[in-house]
């Protein structure tokens, strides 16, 4: 396989959690906070959750759903919030709007429950991302495969999950490179279909390596 002129630069990403001064004790307060919280906070409680609990394949699709279930015992609302798939979003503004829409609908339909106090407050946090290029890149698919195996969980998460917002496309860094630099549209599409909700980061990586291996053999 030929080398590309645009190598894939592997990056390491580290995340700090910054605790905001906002907290919510009721659904009504959550709705208000969802209006003013920073984009970084929305990112933290939706995208970041997948990175933090990447070894689990159930629950935790986002922190809001988890809090609604565990602290407010509202499973129906929790299920609606949990059904939000971050792969459908290319901007935090869209994601925020949908979160607010679901919570607002609940507050309007169930005004008493909207004021019900939770067992524990919801503490708004935000992610602070720090990235550094790793000392290796990939010019070929074989080189890419080798690099992929060396990636930490955080780096894989950065390229495969967090990248969607950075690219503002419904894709990830890997698929983007397969398509744009190697011209491998089919591999790009298959990689993008790997379900991050029913995989752990390790199994998602394994699935991706399997796809790359098949492409190399072909």
């Amino acid at each position: 396989m030929n080398a590309t002129a645009q190598p894939f630069q592997f990056v390491t990403a580290a995340y700090l959690t910054r605790i905001e001064n906002q907290r919510a004790m009721t659904m009504a307060e959550l709705l208000a906070c969802l209006g003013h919280s920073s984009d970084a906070a929305i990112f933290y409680h939706t995208f970041q959750t997948l990175g933090q609990h990447h070894f689990l394949t159930e629950g935790f699709s986002n922190d809001f759903a988890q809090w609604v279930l565990a602290s407010l015992n509202q499973p129906m609302l929790a299920e609606r919030l949990a059904s939000i798939d971050i792969r459908d979003y290319v901007s935090i503004a869209e994601l925020r709007a949908d979160l607010r829409h679901i919570v607002a609908e609940f507050c309007e339909s169930y005004p008493k429950q909207a004021e019900q106090s939770a067992f524990e407050p919801f503490y708004f946090c935000q992610a602070v991302e720090v990235t550094r290029p790793l000392p290796w890149d990939a010019k070929t698919l074989a080189g890419f495969r080798a690099g992929l195996e060396r990636l930490s969980h955080a780096s894989f998460y950065y390229h495969f999950v967090a990248s969607r917002l950075r690219l503002q496309l419904r894709t990830n860094d890997f698929s983007h490179w397969f398509e744009q630099s190697l011209g491998l549209q089919e591999l790009a599409a298959r990689a993008n279909r790997i379900d991050i909700y029913i995989n752990t980061i390790d199994t998602a990586r394994k699935e991706l390596i399997g796809l790359v291996d098949r492409e190399i053999i072909q």
Binding site: A14, L16, R18, I19, F55, L56, V130, R132, H153
Partner: protein
């Protein structure tokens, strides 16, 4: 006589088999731009306590990564430590009475220690309230970052102490808390750093099965029958009597044993009383083992945890409760109270089971004893959760990330 496993000097590479070579490589990459950066860490004790335990390992690892990390311990007389102990209790929400002179003594020791210590590093990390007032004499001309690392729960502080400390804390460039619940409304950035355990310390490293069995047998515990264990000092807030009541409920259904093991009773009047109460409540039950361990018995604690079928942490109130992380790291199914930092570690039905009462604790233990496959899965997921969030390497990474964030 039990042989003590040998110890070896620890370097970052020793952690690679536990956290993955990629994580270690990542630490090295992150540390690259920080090479030569001077980091001053200050706390109030060189030995004993969780902070000293963390710094003992964190400082050499940071140095191995090329940072010039220094550890300074403040000095104080008995009067200072009496006051700071009272501050500690008051910040945890206990009612204490302070005289104006107490605050003066606190400041006097802070000023004297500050004058003694250069603290000219690029990053200065002050641990806990004891040296918090060092910030008072921060040189404004120097381009430094000062961080206050608070290891205690400030969710319900005594206003007298917090109102005194808050103006100092607000002068830092940032503060670090162990849980969002422990933080305060402050005008400075607040960061979340979980406390950490060292997987290579005597308390947490792998042990031979023979060694574990030897320890159990030495204490008279039958390794072939289920063992329920709570490791904690003898303190009412750890609810040892509640654990005994839960055990009695479980005992109706399973032929199990209970181990309550902890230290600190001999030099603590309340601890001695709680230990006596626990012994009295246990009566002559041959399957209850109440073990008063010496202040430092990490291998015994490790062996007891590893030899357990279920680990319990039935606290009524808790700081972060790192004994839970220790048990999870050993892949043990944990039943714990939903208090303090425990729910951060025990994610109900994912990394362990939470309970809110004696009856609930007993029910969850019975459930785990009846479903060893689920117990095993929870233990394994708990282990992954600790690997990701509560190991010393993760703590080091958070510091590097914070320094890089401040540096850029």
């Amino acid at each position: 006589m039990i042989a003590t496993p040998e110890t070896v000097p620890i370097s970052l590479d020793h952690y690679a088999p536990l956290v993955g070579a990629a994580e270690i490589e990542e630490l090295r990459t992150l540390a690259g731009p920080l090479e030569g950066a001077v980091v001053d860490m200050v706390n109030s004790t060189a030995v004993g306590g969780g902070v000293a335990e963390i710094l003992t390992r964190l400082i050499p690892l940071a140095r191995e990564l090329g940072l010039d990390a220094r550890w300074h311990v403040m000095e104080g007389g008995p009067e200072f430590y009496e006051i700071t102990k009272a501050f500690h209790n008051a910040l945890h929400g206990n009612v204490c009475n302070f005289r104006p002179s107490d605050f003066e003594i606190f400041l006097d020791y802070n000023r004297r220690n500050r004058a003694r210590l250069p603290l000219d590093g690029h990053f200065v990390v002050i641990h806990d309230p004891q040296p918090a007032a060092f910030i008072e004499t921060r040189p404004l001309a120097e381009k430094q970052t000062w961080i206050w690392r608070c290891h205690i729960d400030l969710s319900r502080p005594d206003p007298a102490v917090w109102n005194f400390l808050e103006p100092f804390v607000s002068r830092y460039d940032g503060a670090i808390f162990s849980s969002p619940e422990f933080s305060r409304q402050l005008p400075i950035p607040q960061y979340l750093f979980y406390p950490s355990i060292d997987p290579l310390s005597d308390k947490n490293r792998e042990l031979d099965a023979d060694f574990i069995e030897d320890v159990l047998v030495r204490f008279g515990i039958d390794p072939r029958r289920p063992i329920l264990t709570q490791i904690s000092r003898f303190d009412r807030l750890k609810d040892p009597l509640g654990v005994l009541r839960a055990y009695r409920i479980v005992k109706r259904y399973f032929d199990c044993q209970l181990v309550l093991a902890g230290g600190g009773a001999s030099d603590d009047p309340e601890g001695s009383a709680v230990l006596a109460e626990a012994r009295e409540a246990a009566g002559h039950d041959p399957d209850v083992f109440i073990l008063e361990l010496p202040p430092s018995a990490p291998l015994e604690v490790n062996a007891l945890q590893r030899g357990s079928t279920v680990v319990i942490q039935k606290s009524l109130r808790e700081g972060f409760g790192l004994t839970v992380a220790e048990a999870l790291w050993k892949k043990k199914p944990v039943v714990a109270s939903a208090v303090g930092g425990i729910p951060t570690q025990v994610i109900h039905k994912h990394t362990g089971l939470l309970a809110h009462s004696v009856e609930g604790t007993a029910y969850q233990i019975r459930f785990l004893l009846a479903h060893p496959d689920i117990a095993q899965r929870l233990g394994e997921q708990g282990h992954e959760h600790v690997r990701e969030n509560f190991l010393i390497t993760g703590n080091l990474k958070r510091y590097l990330t914070l320094f890089l964030h401040e540096h850029c």
